[in-house]
Symmetry: C2
Subunit: 271 residues, 2 copies
């Protein structure tokens, strides 16, 4: 089964384009010491249990686990293993090294951890992508095209005018010959850019961050997000998993995820 088929399956089963980011934060979890996978894994399990029927994907971000060193990656490994089989796992790591190093990343993330997709940084060119999905037909990468942060424009150029790095990444990378799917990260903070990105990459799946705490434009995500096979992956993290800091965090996360899913579905006219 291709990545897009698996994604579409989860989107249909849960009637959802929502992706929940699993980003443990010691400031919000009040974790002083991480011993093996505690307390990150129990927290993540509670979030996964509470939202697993409301999402189309889960997206843990590697950096949030590495802040505890190896112990954090044990929690990450076990979190990934806990996510139900039919829900795609997108590992957000923005990896972008040269060929033989990317082959090692792919071996760890795709083969050992069995995630479905990873985010990739294209600075070094196609070498960041080909060793990962050149031959892995059932996997996908989301290539950074337009990021959702304030300093995105420093190097990414004027996407709306079709000039510069983001536009070039969208144009050139689609020509690279890969068995796996090439999707794109397109932030929702600049809604017009979503329209241009969709125009430049008509058949690519979009991972759209910046909806929750970052305040992105949901309407543009719904309008320009869908490709021919699947809907977009609209990602929120902090606004859901830290909806409450108290012991009711899982129920609060379920409520917040349900409300965001409903807002998306109303715009899609499927609710």
């Amino acid at each position: 089964m291709s990545y897009l088929e698996k994604l579409r399956g989860a989107q249909e089963t849960n009637e959802s384009w929502l992706c929940v980011g699993l980003d443990p934060d010691p400031e919000r979890l009040r974790v002083d010491v991480l011993k093996w996978d505690e307390p990150i894994l129990p927290f993540n399990k509670a979030i996964i249990d509470a939202t697993g029927d409301l999402v189309c994907a889960f997206k843990p971000n590697l950096g949030f686990y590495l802040q505890w060193g190896a112990a954090g990656t044990i929690a990450l490994e076990r979190t990934i293993a806990y996510i139900p089989e039919h829900i795609p796992v997108i590992l957000d790591c923005k990896t972008g090294d040269i060929g033989h190093t990317q082959a090692a990343w792919a071996s760890g993330l795709f083969d050992a951890w069995e995630v479905d997709a990873v985010t990739v940084n294209p600075y070094v060119g196609e070498e960041a992508i080909l060793p990962m999905i050149g031959k892995r037909a059932e996997k996908a990468v989301y290539i950074l095209a337009r990021t959702s942060n304030p300093s995105a424009t420093q190097f990414q150029g004027d996407l709306i005018q079709g000039h510069g790095l983001s536009a070039e990444v969208l144009r050139q990378s689609q020509k690279w010959d890969t068995a796996g799917h090439k999707g794109y990260v397109v932030g929702a903070t600049y809604p017009q850019e979503l329209a241009v990105a969709r125009n430049l990459a008509p058949t690519a799946n979009f991972l759209i961050p910046g909806i929750g705490a970052q305040g992105g434009n949901l309407e543009a995500a719904v309008r320009y997000g869908p490709d021919a096979i699947a809907g977009p992956v609209i990602s929120a993290s902090r606004s859901i998993i830290y909806a409450s800091k108290s012991s009711d965090f899982a129920g609060a996360a379920r409520d917040a995820a349900g409300r965001l899913r409903e807002r998306i579905n109303k715009m899609r006219d499927v609710s």
Copy 2:
């Protein structure tokens, strides 16, 4: 002590600009299963013991450890802890996420693992750098400017003419206000580019890969590498740590490192 002072100290003590990359490769190590930190940690310890008086830095690459999942990062964590205190550790991870995620990376790499420098990908702009070394005066990042791989020119522009992404990264990033040092990764595969990079960033330390297995230009690295405080970090990995695949690998690594250090020192006129 600033990063550059620590680096200069190691360069003087060992009379060396050579950095050895610690990149475990299952094809070469014939590792079927990694259990905790075996056999990666014993291999690395033997390499560190054999070359510790010949190098100015060690540079493990995160991707090569993550290929074994969490078990690989345990080996990495213990490898970093084993490197002698006076030798800088550069963690090659090419991280480049947005602000709050980079803060988490920095917390893990700089504060928990206590590495001295990390490689950073500037695609998202200054947000990739400020949370890491904005306030960490004793730490450094090496920002990807020009990478050493064949597809580097797809998005990095014409550095020799001073156009495009690599040139812009060198120009703009120097203005960012950071307590820690901003160095640059400048591949040695295109020697003229080293001259241009030095011209654009006169006071920055350069991490120069592509010397060993990749066949870069050592003379250009020696000529344009030094900044006002320290010499460049000239990195080789496969040509040293896999100089022999047999049980004499540590002695062979020492010989290979010694020869490369000597070649560099002859060009520097210090041998």
